[in-house]
Subunit: 207 residues, 2 copies
Amino acid sequence: MILYYTPHTCALASHIALEQAGADYQVKRIDFSKNEQRAPEYLRVNPKGRVPALVTSRGILTETPAILTFIAQSFPAAGLAPLDDPFALAQVQSFNSYLCSTVHVAHAHRMRGHRWADDPTAIEAMKKKAPQSVGACFDLIEHEMLQGPWVMGSIYTVCDMYLFTLPQWLEADGVDLRRLPKVADHRQRMSDTPVIARVIAAELAAS
Amino acid sequence: MILYYTPHTCALASHIALEQAGADYQVKRIDFSKNEQRAPEYLRVNPKGRVPALVTSRGILTETPAILTFIAQSFPAAGLAPLDDPFALAQVQSFNSYLCSTVHVAHAHRMRGHRWADDPTAIEAMKKKAPQSVGACFDLIEHEMLQGPWVMGSIYTVCDMYLFTLPQWLEADGVDLRRLPKVADHRQRMSDTPVIARVIAAELAAS
């Protein structure tokens, strides 16, 4: 398999899952600073012009929640999701769906407001609200969702890998981590795992 | 099971899936005009203050992609998703994930810009861009995603139910359906099915 990624993006979640699963994979870096995500050769891989994209023997998959569940199902021995319990799996998918549709979107208004408005004043207004909208998402994660010690309680799942990617941006989003002790502790414990340290080093080293 | 819904929202997809699966369920209507989605009794069901929410014997599920896959897995005889093929299931989930994280979000900038900016001028700027951003999403669906006759080709899946909910809003979003013949044909064929006519009538009849 080949994972197309960009450092410091949510593609990190899929990269961690592949490494944790013991998958045989390569990574290919897409450089946003060179606008490689809009280059014709990459648009043939992913017409959305986004990362991640996972090339498999059956075809190409995009969208982090779909890739994460696919990796979990493809490597059941790695135990990355409660595959035999439809309700527990639905809880995993619900968490991941909230991250992609609400949390990541709130964050994107600080970085990529041009997706939703052309007026520079409007783009500034979106940046200004990011601390509040991202903060509200993480308050909900802190108080209602993150069961502890892992997102789904005692089992370590793809939710933890996906959650790990987003709080990297909290300081820049203007959210004070001190009000989010469970999220901050989760981020620290994830950072300390050898698999994640290895993946992050690989992302930054690859050209 | 109990499905909390509001008419004319994406909760319709979960409602269609329950009906199509032959599930034993009730619906409860949440009235946005009375702000019932923020009422304390509903926030105990869904702290996010959104619809849909599905009450099951195991607990409450939110987020349309998670609910749809859960219904498909809970009623395998209904054949709502390719459950025995992880890659095909990942394609289903990828499509649903795109709808929730990108398409529905683009649409929401016409209706609910206050989520991402406070300045009324910014909210107007978001409304103004909706035809372009929603249109770009549907161009991709039309040309890259909707395999035909159904989203996943010859099999009718939860993707069709979810896709059906969003093109209802295209005219109001300022997107000309004439440039989207496959999407328009899909919407018409879905509207014509007895299950969907029954579900829509039930949504509007319930108080």
